[in-house]
């Protein structure tokens, strides 16, 4: 069962909280994730279509002459998150290429398609809400921001509302 070699959730919660606390103490801000994905996407788009992206007023904040879209704290932080995931999984003996799915067998493309679709929804949502579960819920929640608590409650609400629709994927 997946519980093997996973930390006790309460211990893990405290550990995660200490990392977050360290981030506040060292940097004065919390952790994040979606901002880096946004920057990476804009950077990639700028390489492919510099004119379209460069002249878009929304993207002009990020790219343009003399600006490096990847020169950002979040980008380096998420690089660290990736490496932390690698080392965490490897040292627990579960670094393995594969596709994770629920107990019901389903075609790989179906699972990957759902992952992509969910990702797209979250990408839009994270831009709209100015952060994701890391940047808004976790970080903003810890400094008691009203909007972050609203966001967090709505994430759980959205998850529980949509869960029956995709039940076949997970149960």
């Amino acid at each position: 069962m997946p519980h093997q070699k996973l930390w006790n959730p309460y211990v893990a919660g405290v550990a995660l909280g200490l990392v977050l606390l360290a981030s506040f103490l060292v940097m004065g801000n919390g952790l994040g994730a979606s901002g880096a994905a946004n920057r990476a996407a804009i950077g990639a788009a700028y390489v492919v279509a510099p004119d379209t992206v460069g002249h878009d007023p929304y993207f002009a904040k990020y790219v343009g002459p003399g600006k490096n879209v990847l020169d950002d704290w979040l980008v380096f932080e998420v690089l660290g998150v990736f490496l932390g995931g690698v080392v965490g999984a490897y040292s627990a003996g579960r670094l393995r290429r594969g596709i994770l799915m629920g107990p019901r067998p389903m075609p790989a493309w179906g699972r990957l398609g759902l992952a992509l679709a969910g990702g797209i929804l979250m990408g839009v949502a994270a831009r709209l809400a100015r952060g994701c579960t890391s940047g808004q819920a976790l970080t903003g929640g810890s400094v008691l921001s009203l909007g972050s608590w609203v966001f967090m409650m709505m994430v759980f609400a959205g998850g529980y509302l949509a869960a029956p629709l995709v039940r076949r994927q997970w149960r």
């Binding site: 997946p2 930390w7 309460y10 893990a12 919660g13 405290v14 995660l16 909280g17 977050l20 606390l21 981030s23 506040f24 103490l25 060292v26 940097m27 004065g28 801000n29 919390g30 952790l31 979606s34 946004n38 804009i42 878009d56 704290w73 380096f76 998420v78 690089l79 998150v81 490496l83 932390g84 995931g85 080392v87 965490g88 999984a89 670094l95 994770l100 992952a115 990702g119 797209i120 929804l121 979250m122 839009v124 994270a126 831009r127 709209l128 952060g131 994701c132 579960t133 940047g135 808004q136 810890s142 921001s145 009203l146 909007g147 966001f151 709505m154 994430v155 949509a162 869960a163 149960r171």
Partner: protein
């Protein structure tokens, strides 16, 4: 107040990126060990099979909240320097709902998808790709949502301020609520597990210790309310050292490469007349923001029309020593750029000083050095030359 380190200038921007990598590494490692790199574990939250997501997330929030509250109450952390996300009520409400849907469809949230990709799960990598595509899509269709995006703007809105409750009290309340939620979640887990015919899920030992810790930390946070409220920290005075005109002139002649002389007056005034060797503020950067990024291997000397009372912001962030010309350009003009008058009671010291100043005057104006027995003439022609070497460029 020693925390937060970065906003208090303990290290620079580039070092902050390295700190970000290390913090991110710890974040990713803990997320992975919590099981958050695996979609079935995360999705189980929404079918009450394993409420690990709730436990880890609220455990983390309570820990960080109590930690910052206690440290701020003890006067170690300047809470006002922490970045608090601004509240935009409606987009955050809608975004949260949408993100929740995306969460259960993909099985990840953006951060955990990165961890999943790192642990080799292709579905995680696919989710990351989706998040990237989604943010790009949002950017392209931004004009349609621009208005909604700004709706319900409340600026920085923190619950303690809105409710008028001291932070420590609210933190204790959140902790109590979290513990209640944990117990409720466990009861639900048991209920659903019995329905499915499973056994008990978790050993109670670490849980109880964590609960005791949360209770003690909450009490600690409340205890800080009894302490004196920390005095508002005075802004750290920048290390302004004054340098007089004569010393500056000598330095410019003797070791022009040891200083970087910047004229912070209006660019036009500077272009017209400045201390030879000084650089003007570029027309496209009148605030001088480049000053902060200069390598701190030369001393930075600034001068204005008169003496600078405060350093310009970017200069305060300069990594090395900053000096300010005493009396500003006016003083230098009087002391060096004007021909010196011969001392009337000719003492050896006065004469030596006169010789030095004449030599400097000659050097800076291009005039021939005045001979020691002077003619009481008017000021020699003052002709600032463009710098030949040192400073500038």
């Amino acid at each position: 107040m020693i925390f937060p380190l970065y906003p208090l200038d303990a290290f620079g921007y580039e070092a902050s990126l390295v700190a970000g990598t290390l913090l991110g590494f710890a974040f990713g490692f803990v997320l992975e060990r919590s099981g958050f790199g695996r979609a079935p574990v995360l999705a189980a939250q929404f079918y009450f099979a394993d409420t690990r997501v709730l436990k880890v997330m609220f455990g983390a929030i309570v820990t960080a909240l109590l930690g910052t509250t206690i440290l701020a109450g003890a006067g170690v952390l300047d809470y006002s320097l922490l970045t608090v996300p601004e509240t935009f009520l409606w987009p955050q409400l809608a975004g949260g709902l949408l993100l929740g849907v995306g969460f259960i469809v993909s099985g990840y949230c953006p951060g955990t998808a990165v961890v999943a990709a790192g642990s080799g799960n292709l579905d995680g990598a696919m989710t990351v790709a989706g998040v990237m595509a989604g943010s790009l899509l949002y950017g392209f269709f931004h004009p349609w949502v621009a208005e909604f995006e700004m709706s319900g703007a409340m600026g920085v809105a923190r619950l303690p301020d809105l409710l008028g409750v001291p932070q420590a009290l609210l933190a204790a309340g959140v902790a109590a609520m979290a513990v209640g939620m944990f117990l409720g979640a466990e009861a639900l887990e048991k209920l659903f597990a019995r329905r499915r015919g499973g056994g008990p899920l978790l050993a109670p030992v670490p849980r109880n210790w964590v609960f005791i810790g949360i209770a003690l930390a909450s009490l600690g946070g409340l205890g800080t309310l009894a302490l004196e409220p920390p005095a508002p920290a005075a802004a750290p005075a920048p290390r302004v050292v004054r340098i007089d005109s004569l010393t500056l002139a000598r330095t410019l002649v003797e070791s022009p490469d040891s200083v970087r002389l910047v004229d912070v007056r209006e660019p036009a005034a500077c272009e017209a007349k400045r201390i030879p060797g000084a650089m003007c503020l570029p027309a496209d950067d009148p605030g001088g923001s480049f000053l902060a990024d200069l390598p701190p291997t030369r001393r930075l000397v600034l001068y204005g029309a008169a003496e600078l009372r405060a350093l310009p912001g970017p200069a305060a962030r300069f990594g090395g020593p900053v000096l300010v010309l005493a009396g500003g350009f006016a003083a230098f003009e009087t002391a060096i750029l004007t021909a010196p008058v011969a001392p009337s009671p000719v003492t050896p010291e006065a004469l030596a000083r006169f010789r030095l100043v004449s030599a400097l005057h000659a050097k800076f104006t291009g005039a021939a050095a005045a001979p020691p027995p002077p003619a009481p003439a008017g000021p020699a022609r003052v002709q600032p030359r463009g710098p030949k070497k040192g400073g500038g460029c």
